[in-house]
Symmetry: C2
Subunit: 404 residues, 2 copies
């Protein structure tokens, strides 16, 4: 049996949107799906039981972080990542490429690759930030792989396609990603092409290195905001015997750029395999990307916003610490069915945030994940009902009309 | 109907230990009971639903902290503390005395009262610590009350018996405490007597100020480690029309001192009313105090230890961050029935602590509260079975034999 099967349940007549079902060893994922991020083998502040209650279908964990701490070998000896973190549902690990390249300067070509230079993926949050007063961490790419400095202790490490697959096989997620070299909007055409070619060679090396039959491999399409490169990369990946596609790297400098990149790329990706847009998670982006044929998303935005007291509502984002909520007896959003809104007022949540109480992060995270997961679930239903465009219009009109 | 009724279910023939039931407007509390501390209207990292699952019977919140933030008037306008924090079970608030006096110097008599000077209550944790480099905060006591500086913003506030009762009435807990002046082991006999006399006058002012019939008032016995003062204070409180007693202030310099103070004090406290030992929570102390007739405890130790990765087991406390647990696949304590031990290994919990993940604090807090609550529940059962001494011996022999 294949590690992954993908069934298209319904394809929209009026757009590239589709609803499907992914089956992997640890369960099924109804797509479009939002994958919650558990960088260090935990979705910050939540237990696996909380994730189940929220309707989370699949969790994304981080090869870079977990290989440095606690170490992939240790996780393997303890029975693999599912057992280690107590999550028995579908899991995906990224390849470490994004985190390694966001570490520091790529010395050999003098182009900065510091954190924050990958706007499209910045919200993905894997990228470690240099501590204040520290020198920027360094990553040096060559055709074989990347040598980089750990953000934890400054020790030197090496990541190659083979090592990335080795780590991901030890972690044992249902879906693993090929090791890639993402580029930023500051990279020129020539460098983006070089990185693209490396990414393609590395994808084939990942395919060759992979031995576990119970894991599905996704290849990552690169090419920045350059149409011919994106198309070349999409055609390259579509021709590979991989179980799915991810779209990574620079998605340009605006939402229009991102839409264009999706419109160039997605039609070239074989329809029978799932498509994952890396690191994108704003509500408006999710809906636009679903309409352009994306099946899977991951993003730290909902959980990171939550920890800063920024909460999603259908009328835009709300910042709980604002004084206006000091005595507000209502829930974050009236009508919301999450366990936080069922039990706690804005005034209480604001108090928890102002007092820097640990419970604040958890309650806010529950609300934000509930919001995003519901949005994607409703988008899926709208696809099935053939009215995604109307759903999107209605949602965005309200969502973008006002910031609470 | 009285705000509090106390039924003695069983009194030990061989010691002062007793098992009882307290009934207050928001429910019943089987004693001896450990009251979990929710200083800022939240037990750190846990929801009220978690507390129910843990079998928490009663929560202690903090007058000092809540009056400064978010303010008692605000809590009252939002329906009172139960509604505000989403806990519909029994609640107790302390009077603010301990926190106010632990703020800084009592200028008028030149004796330091900084945090850390009340060893018996240090683990109670209410006392704010001056930030590094900050000048010590100040509190000035007079016969009418205390003027003190907020640890939050340096603003000046005044707390008197009447104001403490006013705040506690606005918060609306089932049980409130009289405003007192605790003393430290560094205070001499004369000052301890002065403070005691103030505490007694203030208790009568609290009684006079109290207007809510649905709240029970406990008086606080002071007197430091001086036998005649403790006895005088116990007799004074026993003669007052209050619903219960708390024992506060300095409990001497050793466990032997604490035991002696309990042995002087408890027999003088009317048997028909519950006795609360303020700020004590180490397992060995709980059992010794139960045997000496204490019914109620509160302490931040279990939750504070948890946040530092220090976990209770029947073989002593275990520090999860120790390297020895790096690959340990077992639970914190084999046989433990808490939800953390049911699902997570020491290796995973250690990883969460080392990675400073939010979930670590929550999972460890659940285990530690489960441990302490179970201990006190089992002690209660042992009282009912007339074998508390044997239970205590057996527990302590194992508990004190080894640090894991």
């Amino acid at each position: 049996m294949a590690a992954l099967s993908f069934t298209l349940t319904h394809t929209s007549a009026r757009s590239a949107a589709r609803a499907g079902v992914i089956q992997v060893p640890h369960g099924r994922v109804e797509t479009p799906a939002f994958m919650v991020v558990g960088t260090q083998a935990t979705v910050k502040s939540l237990t696996p039981a909380d994730l189940r209650e929220l309707g989370v279908q699949i969790v994304l964990a981080n090869t870079y972080h977990l290989s440095l701490r606690p170490g992939a070998e240790l996780v393997a000896r303890l029975g693999g990542l599912h057992h280690f973190m107590g999550w028995d549902g579908p899991l995906i690990t990224d390849s470490g490429g994004y985190q390694v390249f966001s570490l520091g300067f790529a010395l050999e070509h003098g182009v900065g690759k510091q954190v924050g230079m990958f706007p499209a993926e910045a919200a993905r949050g894997g990228g470690p930030r240099p501590a204040q007063g520290q020198k920027p961490k360094l990553a040096r790419v060559d055709d074989d792989g990347v040598t980089f400095t750990s953000h934890l202790d400054g020790s030197t490490h090496r990541l190659t396609p083979e090592r990335s697959i080795d780590i991901q096989q030890q972690l044992g997620a249902d879906i693993i990603l090929a090791f890639d070299e993402p580029t930023s909007p500051l990279h020129d055409y020539d460098y983006t092409r070089q990185a693209l070619e490396r990414t393609h060679r590395w994808a084939d090396r990942c395919l060759a290195a992979k031995t576990r039959a119970d894991q599905a491999l996704f290849g990552i399409v690169q090419g920045g905001a350059f149409r011919d490169l994106r198309e070349e990369s999409a055609r390259f990946m579509a021709a590979r015997p991989i179980e799915g596609f991810a779209i990574g790297g620079s998605l340009g400098k605006s939402k229009q750029d991102m839409h264009a990149i999706l419109e160039w790329t997605v039609p070239l990706l074989a329809e029978d395999r799932p498509r994952h847009l890396l690191g994108i998670g704003e509500p408006e982006d999710l809906l636009e990307a679903v309409e352009r044929g994306i099946d899977l998303f991951d993003c730290v935005a909902p959980t990171r916003y939550a920890r800063h007291g920024v909460l999603y509502t259908h009328r835009g984002k709300l910042t709980l610490t604002n004084a206006v909520f000091r005595e507000d007896p209502g829930p974050i959003e009236p009508g919301c069915t999450c366990s936080t809104c069922a039990r706690f007022s804005r005034a209480y949540l604001r108090h928890l945030f102002v007092a820097e109480e640990l419970l604040s992060y958890r309650l806010a995270t529950i609300h934000n994940l509930h919001f995003i997961l519901s949005l994607v679930r409703q988008a899926r239903q709208a696809i099935l009902d053939d009215n995604l465009a109307a759903y999107r219009e209605q949602f965005l009109q309200q969502y973008l009309s006002a910031e609470c």
